[in-house]
């Protein structure tokens, strides 16, 4: 059995899917590299996804019917696999986002009150 390396940052496990979905929602259909580049850019380099993390996650989302992958051609005329949100993915993103916001709000209030 191949040894699966742990994710670089464990917190990504739960939130990676949400990040990917949000990215696709913001940018529309994108290939894997563009998603990774966008996340890196938005996080100011804090999130650097390696391929071994990103692509299984994309495959998982595809298997769950949240995104759809299709080969296409970039503006520069290069072949790439493009991922787009499905209606189910859109719904999932919405509910996940609300959940996240709620949790963030709670954490925020809690931490502020603590200080």
């Amino acid at each position: 059995m191949p040894n699966r390396k742990p994710y670089k940052a464990d917190i990504l496990q739960g939130t990676l899917d949400l990040m990917v979905l949000q990215t696709l929602s913001t940018l529309g259909a994108q290939h894997g590299y563009a998603i990774a580049a966008r996340l890196e850019q938005v996080s100011h380099g804090a999130i650097q996804l390696n391929m071994g993390t990103l692509y299984p996650a994309l495959m998982r989302l595809e298997q769950r019917g949240l995104v759809r992958g299709q080969w296409g051609v970039t503006d520069n005329n290069r072949k790439a696999r493009f991922y787009s949100l499905t209606p189910a993915g859109r719904r999932s993103l919405e509910s996940e986002r609300q959940e996240w916001t709620r949790l963030a709000g709670i954490m925020d209030a809690l931490l502020r009150g603590d200080a």
Binding site: M1, Y33, Y55, M59, R64, G65, K79, R81, A88
Partner: protein
């Protein structure tokens, strides 16, 4: 939902990937190309990412499993001899244990209907604490029916003989009279038609009958229109209203007729049926007994003055199934113990073989660990191999059990199969249990090499060790020893049972069954209304039979020896003047049998002292009785018996066949006869018996057995018996005609069954032990090939090698036998408490079993020993 979808997609991909590896790689390559464009090198990540995507794509552990199975199969094939032996042992062990348990389960544990747990019979015990009454009167039935707080329903039942007039000769069929409650109580619906309703059971209702499936098939030719037919029973046409399904058994018999009891009857003296009842769900037997105790007190208060038997009488319930199976229970428990031992033997054997194999795999394991295989991975590999063997063996074992069932069932005498043969099926839960036990053994011992590999890690690769380390060898030898000890136990049990059987065969029967045929008569009370008529019938019949050529004698007795009747036809309260019961102990009780004068001469039961009955003993002469030895020993202290007076008091309890209750009668003992085996349980103690003269009590003699001794062949003798009865009364049927030798043989039936099965076990166990020993020793030889090669190279002779190997086998066998003997002696004590013919330590059985096993062990060791002696020294040395 999303998860389910993910797994469905993965399962689908596992079967048939929607994206192949090239597609995955193309995506990763395109990513790498984008990265390179941005001046980053990520090519190294492609391989790892491929792997991660493949894992995400399908079901990787299934792939691993398939790989494990392929590899495991290859490994098992490499050691195919050993794998096969493990497979055979497990299959035989699981198969035979399952088959035997299923048989025991069908015969004992499942006897009766689903409601058997709640189905009870009522029995009364008189104040003397000895006399048990199982027959009751109508008012007593009504009394019990009132206890509806503990009983869901209460009914009356009694086995009876009917005269069936169908065709040329009247025939006797065994039937059962039941009240309408009985069939619903058991809960089995009829195959056709209906069972009795309360209005069928009212006095004066139209006569109806429900017939059994065999009766329908054989007597009525399976007529589909049977429900419109009538049959003539006891000269009355009975309409057939129902046919019960095959294997339906309610008190035996081939047909059922409603009792039509008059519930307003107040006669408490005429007791002619059993009362059975269904306990309400949740009501324990103790609760029912407590309720019956209240009832018995009420009865005593109300009726003890007129009927003294009510004073101090207790009523209890008695589980019907318990009553039926009590006789064969000990034998079945012995068999169950044997099943357990057999399964243990098989497990010990398998454990041993797997240990042997583990030793030889050690090097392989060490290499794999050294090459970086994780311990979990190796454990899984070992598990896969164990499970491969044990699950296939489990399946084969179950198949074997299915195949064995008909063979085993055929070995059982019909009468001792308490259910019909085709109802005995393989019991699924026990098959699963047996398989699980064996598989667990396989897993436990299959893991040994993987677990020991953890030690190997520290030391790195070890040198190949000859024959495994000392600890393994210790375990192996210990397991062999245990196995041989267990086998000895089974062998001892078999030897003991056979010994017990032969002891029972040697029991003095007290009569000579050779050349004797017998049959039963039941004279209908409607026709034989007086004692005179009954006496005339027997006189005419016996004279007609005895006058035939070849016949040396004919006689009548209430029940033939080893007969089927459980209840005496006559019963008295007995007092022996001059011999008071010591210390106020219970009054003497004896079995009473009516006999015609020549009975003892015909069956050749010796007269010890005094005389037999003669034609001079009539109803006008002084009443006389003959006692058996057991009676004299028990009640007369073995002292002089002839001339002793006995008082036969008013009867109670038994079936009242003779009309009016008799008054006290004082009779003199005129003779003492040898004890003879009368009851069906052939090795039970002979009970005290008193024989009465048929001529002096003809009114009690409606149901009798005739016995005929002749030099004729059985068919002619039977013809003479039938002709004699026909001569006395052409309408009178005779039934259950058998040769006495057959009856004696049948009385040994349960015992024979146990022996057949134990013999089977012993054979299987010994074979397993031999196979196991053979495998362990040949494995040892294989492991020691190097050592043996060296020995041969330095001049050891082939014979000395053979001796060395055989000695190893014999040492193991001897230790095992020694351990087994100790346990065997304990087992014998246990058996002795179960089987009354097994007395103390049977040295011979132990010696036979022990020497037999050692001889077989020597054989099992000899074959690999021969192979060892043929080892080519050069090849053996080169191999390292």
């Amino acid at each position: 939902m999303q998860r389910a979808r993910e797994w469905a997609a993965r399962a689908w991909n596992w079967l048939r990937p929607t994206r192949d590896d090239a597609d995955l790689e193309a995506e990763l390559r395109s990513h790498a190309a984008f990265a390179a464009n941005d001046g980053r090198a990520v090519d190294a990540g492609v391989v790892h990412a491929m792997e991660a995507m493949r894992d995400q794509r399908g079901l990787p552990w299934l792939d691993d499993l398939a790989r494990d199975i392929r590899y495991g199969t290859r490994m098992l094939w490499r050691d195919r001899g050993l794998s096969f032996v493990v497979f055979v042992i497990l299959a035989v062990g699981i198969g035979s244990a399952t088959a035997i348990y299923s048989l025991v389960d069908a015969c004992i544990l499942k006897y009766g209907s689903v409601r058997a747990d709640r189905w009870v019979a009522i029995r009364a015990r008189l104040a003397d604490r000895k006399t048990t009454i199982t027959f009751f009167s109508v008012p007593e039935l009504v009394d019990v029916t009132r206890a509806s707080d503990v009983f869901e329903s209460v009914g009356a039942i009694s086995g009876t003989d009917f005269t069936l007039t169908e065709g040329e000769f009247p025939e006797r069929v065994l039937g059962t009279r039941i009240s309408a409650e009985m069939m619903p109580m058991i809960g089995v619906p009829p195959l056709m038609g209906r069972v009795f309703r309360p209005d069928d059971d009212r006095p004066g209702a139209a006569p109806v009958v429900v017939v059994s499936y065999p009766f329908w098939q054989e007597r009525l030719n399976g007529d589909p229109d049977v429900l419109h037919r009538t049959i003539v029973l006891n000269n009355t046409a009975h309409a057939i209203i129902g046919v019960m399904p095959p294997h339906y058994d309610l008190w035996g018999g081939q047909l059922w007729v409603p009792f039509q009891l008059d519930r307003h009857d107040t006669d408490r003296r005429t007791r002619r049926f059993w009362i059975t009842a269904l306990l309400r769900p949740g009501v324990s037997e103790q609760q029912a007994n407590a309720r019956l105790a209240v009832l018995a007190r009420e009865q005593a208060d109300a009726y003890a003055i007129g009927q003294p038997e009510y004073a101090g009488m207790t009523l209890t319930v008695w589980n019907v199934r318990e009553a039926v199976i009590a006789g064969i229970r000990p034998a079945m428990y012995v068999l169950l113990a044997a099943v357990g031992l057999l399964l243990l033997t098989a497990c010990a054997n398998v454990a041993n073989l797997l240990l042997a194999r583990a030793t030889s795999r050690q090097r392989e394991m060490d290499v794999r660990v050294a090459l970086g295989a994780g311990r979990g991975r190796i454990v899984r590999q070992m598990l896969t191999e164990s499970l491969l063997v044990s699950t296939t063996a489990g399946a084969a074992g179950v198949l074997l059990a299915v195949a064995m069932m008909p063979v085993l069932v055929n070995l059982i005498p019909y009468e001792y199969l308490t259910v019909d043969a085709d109802l005995v099926r393989v019991n699924a839960p026990i098959a699963v249990l047996a398989a699980a036990l064996s598989i667990a053994t396989g897993i436990a011992f299959g893991l040994v090499p993987a677990l020991r590999t953890s030690h190997a890690r520290a030391g790195g690769l070890r040198q190949r060790s000859g024959g495994g380390d000392r600890r393994t060898r210790f375990y192996q030898y210990a397991l062999s020893t245990v196995q041989i000890a267990l086998t000895l136990l089974v062998a001892v049990a078999a030897a003991l049972t056979i010994e017990g059987y032969r002891a029972a065969e040697r029991l003095a029967l007290g009569f000579n069954p050779e050349h004797v045929v017998s049959g039963y008569l039941a004279l209908p009370p409607t026709k034989y209304t007086t004692g005179d008529r009954i006496a005339t019938f027997y006189r005419n019949a016996l004279e007609a039979i005895a006058s035939q050529p070849g016949v040396s004698g004919a006689a009548a007795i209430s029940d033939r020896p080893l007969g089927y009747r459980a209840v005496d036809m006559t019963s008295f309260e007995l007092r022996i003047p001059g011999h008071p019961s010591p210390d106020g102990a219970a009054a003497p009780s004896a079995v009473f049998r009516l006999v015609s004068p020549t009975y003892f001469a015909v069956v050749q039961t010796p007269i010890v002292t005094g005389r037999a009955f003669t034609d001079a003993d009539t109803d006008s002469s002084a009443p006389v009785v003959i006692a058996n030895r057991a009676f004299v020993d028990r009640f007369l202290d073995g002292g002089p018996a002839v001339g002793q007076q006995v008082v036969l008091g008013t009867r109670f309890g038994a079936r009242n066949l003779a009309g009016a209750p008799s008054r006290d009668v004082t009779a003199a003992i005129v003779g003492v006869v040898a004890d003879s085996r009368q009851t069906r349980v052939i090795d039970a103690d002979v009970r005290p018996e008193l024989f009465l003269s048929l001529a002096q009590r003809p009114a009690d003699a409606r149901s009798m057995a005739l016995v005929v001794r002749s030099s004729l062949d059985p068919t002619s003798a039977t013809g003479v018996l039938r002709a004699g009865v026909r001569h006395a009364d052409p309408q009178q049927p005779i039934f259950a005609v058998s040769q006495m030798t057959d009856i004696v043989a049948r009385a040994f039936g349960t015992r024979r069954l146990t022996i057949v099965l134990l013999f089977f076990f012993a054979t299987v166990s010994i074979s397993l032990a031999a196979i196991g020993l053979y495998a362990v020793i040949s494995f040892g030889v294989q492991q020691r090939a190097h050592e043996i090669g060296v020995r041969l190279a330095v001049g050891a002779s082939a014979e000395s090698i053979v001796r060395m190997v055989v000695a190893t086998g014999l040492r193991l066998a001897s230790v095992g036998v020694a351990v087994g003997l100790v346990c065997g002696i304990a087992a014998q004590r246990l058996l002795a408490s179960q089987l009354d013919t097994v007395n103390g330590i049977d040295v011979r059985a132990l010696i036979v079993a022990a020497t037999g096993l050692v001889a077989i062990a020597a054989m099992a060791a000899w074959i690999p020993a021969r192979r060892a002696a043929r080892v080519d020294p050069l090849a053996a040395l080169r191999a390292d």
